[in-house]
């Protein structure tokens, strides 16, 4: 995009005040005098070395040339998809973390927030947010993926699906919080407590049962996300984070943990978040997210401008530990080449892979498949469909393909 084109667009914006040739916000404010404050969108200088730059402001903002947004969907209880094609590295910017809620985003006053831990506990306790922050804290990077991620791409693939619409219900974050094990120690879990019911303080009062072994192992109650308090849509002021487990269990706006001796059989662990399988089976408590990968570039809507060297880039992740290998095929799955993994490769976290590729200009299909440290291999679409059935409802981790057209267009190919 040329600077001139942007300049013209900014000038046309009704709310924008264009101050051609004036680079200093202070001078601009002086000239504007007592006028009502309007967003200052100075034109882009032809040569940024010849005019002073903008003054520093109270918040860093994205370049005007970058406009990544979530893609909200649904009517009453929708989801908002992360723009995976716009991201590099592994961390998902907090405002682009995917969102899924079941009756809106709760607004909770942190001064009134309380977490009750009770049930089969020697010392039931109610903790304020301040209490939670006073415990030893842990910082850990891991992904959270909705187990419905990839449903539309599997059931109804369309050429104009971007990585965002294919698999945008996964995000990767540096979480900070208190380990649930620390709190269980504090309240004294009784023998016989085998499950923990986690409940949110949102309008859905969402509830899920979690095996106490997971809670003792690596579950945390996060109050921070990428170095600052959680975003409201991600569970402010505190949420559960269960590394490697499906997102629905990572209960947001967490208000209560009850230690119990059996799963509750709540709506979201029975009628939803269960997997219909061939043979008249509904698989229940399928918590772990299996290995998966997705090429995010080149991918729709980007276009290869011509033959030559390109980088095939994407992300891979698994709820069972580390990604150990990602293979890429550039000939529709006939041959596979090992891609490079960008370190550090973290357990249960998005892992970036990359493979240099010299495109000869012919039409072809590119795809990726992930291997995790348990020896698991991401299945092909055919295998997935055969084993799980066309109507299966969650955990869609089959290999995804992109079709490269001779004119350089890149289309989703299921």
């Amino acid at each position: 995009m040329s600077g001139k084109r942007i300049s013209r667009r900014a000038a046309l914006g009704a709310a924008a005040v264009t101050i051609g040739g004036i680079g200093s916000g202070a001078i601009a404010r002086q000239l504007l005098g007592a006028q009502a404050p309007a967003p200052l969108v100075p034109s882009v200088p032809d040569d940024a070395t010849k005019v002073p730059g903008l003054p520093s402001g109270p918040l860093g903002v994205r370049s005007r040339f970058e406009n990544p947004t979530l893609a909200p969907s649904g009517v009453a209880t929708g989801a908002s998809f992360t723009p995976l094609q716009d991201l590099t590295g592994t961390i998902t910017p907090s405002d682009l973390h995917f969102q899924r809620h079941h009756n809106g985003i709760a607004t909770i006053d942190p001064g009134k927030y309380e977490l009750l831990i009770h049930g089969m506990a020697e010392r039931p306790r109610v903790f304020t947010l301040q209490d939670l922050r006073r415990f030893p804290s842990v910082t850990r990077t891991c992904f959270i993926e909705c187990s419905g991620n990839g449903r539309a791409a599997f059931r109804d693939p369309k050429p104009d699906m971007s990585p965002q619409l294919v698999d945008g219900l996964t995000s990767n974050t540096e979480w900070t919080g208190v380990m649930v094990s620390t709190l269980l120690r504090e309240v004294g879990a009784r023998n016989g407590a085998t499950w923990v019911l986690a409940e949110g303080g949102d309008a859905a009062v969402l509830s899920r049962s979690i095996p106490i072994a997971k809670m003792r192992d690596d579950a945390m109650i996060a109050f921070a996300q990428n170095g600052e308090p959680l975003r409201e849509a991600n569970g402010y002021p505190a949420r559960l984070v269960l590394p490697g487990y499906e997102g629905n269990m990572c209960v947001k706006w967490l208000r209560r943990l009850e230690l119990v001796d059996q799963p509750n059989m709540s709506r979201d662990e029975t009628s939803k978040y269960t997997d219909p399988l061939p043979g008249g089976i509904a698989r229940q408590f399928s918590f772990v997210m299996d290995a998966k990968s997705l090429i995010t570039s080149p991918a729709f809507p980007s276009r290869l401008s011509g033959p030559g060297w390109w980088q095939i880039r994407g992300i891979a992740w698994t709820g069972r530990g580390r990604i150990v290998r990602v293979e890429v095929s550039t000939d529709g799955g006939r041959t596979w080449v090992q891609a490079g993994l960008q370190g550090p490769v973290l357990s249960m976290a998005h892992t970036r892979f990359e493979l240099p590729w010299k495109w000869n200009g012919a039409a072809t299909r590119i795809m990726s498949r992930a291997y995790d440290e348990t020896g698991y291999v991401q299945p092909s679409v055919d295998t997935f469909r055969k084993v799980r059935g066309r109507g299966t409802d969650f955990h869609f981790n089959a290999v995804r393909s992109w079709r490269i057209e001779r004119d350089g267009r890149v289309l989703f190919d299921g």
């Binding site: 649904g74 009517v75 009453a76 079941h102 009756n103 009750l116 009770h118 010392r123 306790r125 109610v126 903790f127 304020t128 415990f135 030893p136 842990v138 208190v178 380990m179 094990s181 120690r185 504090e186 019911l197 409940e199 309008a203 859905a204 009062v205 509830s207 003792r216 690596d218 945390m220 209560r256 799963p263 509750n264 059989m265 709540s266 709506r267 029975t270 009628s271 219909p276 399988l277 008249g280 089976i281 509904a282 698989r283 229940q284 399928s286 772990v288 299996d290 069972r320 550090p344 995790d372 348990t374 020896g375 698991y376 291999v377 997935f384 084993v387 799980r388 066309r390 109507g391 409802d393």
Partner: protein, 223 residues
């Protein structure tokens, strides 16, 4: 109380010889980690909170944080009902009462006959109850009658999350009556059944036997 206990342990609780041995162990561990090319940063794992502490500060038995909740506070929040019926309140409801409540508070979203729409799920229907062919075709609609494995879930969910625009506003008698209505419309119980804390947990849902626990294990198998 917690703080004084902590001080106890860190100042006089450890004998000097213990401390020397402990520091030696920490240094050995760090050398080992560097030698392996791993970052010495602690990673959460089993008991990760303990590992998150700075080296050399043993955890106290209790941090003494938080307060004992009052019984009223617990009962106000402890709204869940489990599959055994634990948590069900006093009260009861009938099909006839439920039909009225449904018409007033549910039909707007879920349809007069529980048929649902694009935004709100279908509630009533018994197709594929027998063949349970849901994995064959994504268009097959899962309902209370053909897919829900536990009747108690109805009480728990309606009570906590419905109606969508005024969640948590129903009285126990209204919830019981809606459960009676929906179970009867789904041909699970007869219209004469009175729903209460005794009868509801005894209802066996048709889909119950189809539910199996996760059998995936990672490794080379794909299930």
């Amino acid at each position: 109380m917690g703080a004084s206990f902590l001080m106890d342990r860190t100042t006089s609780g450890q004998r000097p010889a213990d401390r020397v041995a402990f520091h030696a162990a920490v240094i050995c561990m760090l050398v080992f980690l560097f030698a392996c090319g791993e970052s010495p940063r602690t990673e959460p794992g089993p008991g990760g909170g303990d590992k998150g502490m700075s080296a050399g500060t043993p955890l106290p038995e209790s941090f003494g944080l938080g307060a004992a909740p009052s019984a009223q506070r617990v009962s106000a929040l402890d709204i869940d009902v489990n599959a055994a019926g634990t948590g069900l309140p006093d009260g009861s409801g009938t099909y006839a009462q439920g039909a009225v409540v449904y018409g007033q508070k549910c039909a707007l979203c879920h349809g007069a006959k529980g048929e649902g729409n694009a935004a709100f799920p279908r509630l009533i229907g018994i197709e594929h109850r027998q063949d349970f062919a849901f994995s064959d075709d994504p268009k097959l609609q899962k309902t209370i009658g053909n897919y829900w494995p536990y009747a108690t879930t109805l009480y728990d969910y309606i009570n906590r999350a419905m109606p969508f625009s005024t969640p948590g506003s129903l009285r126990p008698a209204e919830v019981y009556s809606l459960v009676a209505f929906l179970l009867s419309e789904n041909a699970v119980v007869s219209r004469s059944v009175v729903m209460d804390r005794e009868s509801l947990p005894r209802v066996v849902m048709p889909a119950r036997s189809h539910f199996k626990p996760d059998d995936r294990t990672g490794g080379s198998s794909f299930r």
